[in-house]
Symmetry: D2
Subunit: 112 residues, 4 copies
């Protein structure tokens, strides 16, 4: 809270008053993810309306859910790309390579 | 529309006034999918709120989006199971095996 | 063993002397899978030779292994298609729908 | 070819006589990948022998092929981990971040 945050030269990193570097999602990727997530939410609401129809066909439901998942995958790819660029590629400079690698491998593991 | 639908002995199939068999998602699976989809939508709204925080960390966003995808995958598995049971396993009886197999292979292909 | 097997009218099914139906992979799909699996094995041997080079680049290894996995996925899709056509679509006729559905859902789950 | 290669302090990087840095898979990961790939090849040969049996069941073939794919996925994860540690985490130091990120995103895309 009430931290005196200073933008570092590398995007997606802040230095707190205590001098600790805080990694965070860069603003452009965050706005973009937010916009596309709202669209995915609208798509999901469409699937919910489909499910009110007692005659709906299984395959049509499956296709729509997969389309939503495809949109989420694209959002995650954009977040992943900015994470690798801003935080993974700079890990050796910060000296936290082991932690950053473990964290990334863990996040990639659960690729839905 | 004003069809004189008759429930057939096999769940998830209706016969229209014209005698055409209409395959559809069985009611229990449909209600269940709807309930779980509402929960996934709530989760997605939570991710949208996360993205309002300028200090949010990429890895945390990725994990939450993957969790939503995992929930969607489970919903699709339940729909797939009821589709195979009600429509694929009965295809030889109805005589539409080729069409049902093509359709299922197509739907499985896009596994997100 | 020395069973008096009789080809049933549906491909991929034999009747043993005891009258038990034995489901099996149809010959054409089996030959095709065998041929393509030999090719995937050749590809894998190529990756093994790549790995003898001390200057080999990680990304090149990853791409080749993924190419082998893609070939295996295609083989499995062909086996899956013939399984659904010959054994799943006929399950209601044989009366073993529950077992066939459980087995298929289990097999699809481990989609690598 | 007749390059005067010099091991750099970071593992998995060589400097050619021309002063160009050559990224390569570190020896331990390479040996490990090679050993596990030989085992996957043996498994694949086992599946080929299975396919000689005219009574083989589709689901059993699918399970074995998926097991081979699981082994290949684990090998690729080990190669990926060493690539991220040795080459991606050091990209900002070398100054080739854009290229390394594009290459990695491309490689992750084709996750089989």
């Amino acid at each position: 809270m009430a931290l005196d945050k200073v933008k570092l030269t590398q995007p997606g990193a802040l230095k707190s008053a205590a001098g600790e570097i805080c990694l965070h999602l860069d603003d452009e990727t965050r706005d973009n993810a937010s916009r596309r997530l709202k669209s995915a939410k609208g798509h999901l609401e469409g699937v919910l309306r489909m499910l009110e129809d007692p005659d709906i066909y299984c395959i049509d439901v499956m296709k729509q859910i997969k389309a939503v998942q495809g949109a989420l995958t694209k959002i995650n790819e954009a977040v992943l790309r900015s994470h690798i660029r801003d935080h993974v590629a700079t890990a050796a400079q910060r000296g936290d390579t082991d932690q950053v690698v473990d964290e990334l491998m863990e996040a990639l593991k659960y690729k839905a």
